[in-house]
């Protein structure tokens, strides 16, 4: 028996929803943003959890939010962070703060690098990956 070496193929990793997080992904598939809210905390939270962070209150509800927010911080990756992203070229790795409070790790697209400014208003870009059955949430400048 002979074995052959197959070089790894570095495709961009895609999210795989879990039973608990499915409502978030179902909303993205409809091009909506739905995250959890804890009435006892009086806060939206992200990412999805079974119980509220800090208090472990068992009162989390799914609520739709606008998805709009501001750019909290970013960096431009002049070198790929891993081989999976080498083909993508330089990326704007962004943290967006939703108007409802939580922060979201994402990528800023459709914006020239020189126009990226912390504090700028941003809006969702829903990116469908039908073959993987997921929609990713990227951001661009608000018109």
């Amino acid at each position: 028996m002979s074995t052959t070496y197959t070089p790894p193929v570095f495709t961009q990793p895609l999210p795989v929803p879990t039973p608990l997080t499915q409502p978030f992904w179902d909303a993205l598939a409809e091009h909506k943003v739905r995250i959890q809210y804890s009435p006892s905390l009086g806060e939206y939270i992200f990412y999805p959890r079974p119980l509220a962070p800090r208090t472990l209150a068992d009162d989390l509800q799914w609520r739709e939010i606008s998805g709009a927010g501001t750019l909290y911080t970013y960096t431009i990756t002049t070198r790929p962070v891993s081989p999976h992203f080498a083909a993508a070229g330089p990326m704007v790795l962004a943290v967006v703060q939703w108007d409802e409070g939580p922060k979201f790790s994402t990528e800023l697209v459709n914006v020239p690098f020189e126009d990226v400014k912390i504090g700028m208003r941003v809006k969702p870009v829903f990116c469908d990956y039908p073959e993987a059955g997921v929609t990713m949430l990227r951001y661009e400048a608000e018109a």
């Binding site: 790894p8 570095f10 961009q12 990793p13 895609l14 999210p15 795989v16 929803p17 879990t18 997080t21 990412y47 909290y72 911080t73 970013y74 960096t75 431009i76 990756t77 002049t78 070198r79 962070v81 891993s82 081989p83 999976h84 992203f85 993508a88 990326m91 790795l93 943290v95 922060k103 979201f104 790790s105 994402t106 990528e107 912390i118 504090g119 990713m136 990227r138």
Partner: protein
Amino acid sequence: MGLRGEAAILGFYELPPERKLAREKTFNLEQWARLSKAALDDAGLDATDVNGIVTPLIGEASMFVPSTITEYLGIDANFAEIVDLGGAGSAAAVWRAAAAVELGLCDAVLVTFPGTHEVPTHERRPFVMEDSMYFGASSNQYGSPQAEFEIPYANLGQNGPYGQIAKRYGYEFGYDELAMAKIAVDQRTNACATPGAVFHGKPITAQDVLDSPMVADPLHMLEIVMPCQGGAAVVIGNKDMAAKSKNRPVWIKGFGERVPYKTPTYAKDLMYSPMVHAADQAFSMAGISRDDVDMVSIYDCYSITVLMSLEDAGFTEKGKGMQFVNEHDLTFRGDFPMNTAGGQLSFGQAGIAGGMHHVIDGARQIMGRAGEAQVADCNRAFVTGNGGIMSEQTALIFEGE
């Protein structure tokens, strides 16, 4: 509350880092044994004095790590601990060892961090670069929040998120890239007085730093650690062991630690690192003030880590770190000696052993063994560890008698 200061670092050993391994390849377990023996020899203690160990993760085992090590070295341990706090692990291991000594569990504890990850391979046991290894410290396992919400957006590894922290810092407080460069330059001066440092004999200027390639805006290559092969160990003992040791004891007088999150995206306020709490607790426990410290060794995976640690540890105000760096000479002969053996930026980062560089930097100075880089009359040191993306942080205070 806390330590009484009755446990001390009595000996240490730090391999000179190598960018490309020239030494013979050995497994982490073999490194554990040899580094430990060297630290015990340095202290003048016997292996049979040891009845405790603290270890990081090692390459040859993912479970039962401490008992694998005690068996390998033949130690009947009363305290066998694994610490999984990344770059904070070394400082975290030191206070855990000190606590075990003060509780009377142990006479002497080995804290050993193998830092050479190039290990032997065999045709039937080849090295396989698994997909997950490219994701650095982020877990791509199913169900991991990092796999689901971070890695797909390229939020992985270290460069990107540290760049994000530096960008936000600049937005809130302003950004002086010359001050950031000066951190690297002053540390390089220290490395040039430290034989064995990977950049010994290679001074740099601020312009060199700014001319080096931009890796994660605004961080340049010379503001980012050089991964190396190495390893380090310290032996921590009680007063009886201190009396037997040939070195000036380095008493562990205080510590603090805080571990609030894995990924800085979720920090409540990204501009205040866990060091705020860790340093306050350490100084309070030791009963000394910031001004009492003769040198600091600040975990320096990136220039921004140093800058924010200086602020958050209370050596200067939030937002004034760049001014502080510009106004002080951070070299071993300066008015604020910092990372006097070059720090990891200029000494080299030997993987998980990187944090030990700072522990040993502080101990070496207090023992008076820093040679050309010796800080005059050095009796108190402040040492930090930093794991993840400024997400796990530990502070230590050392004092000579």
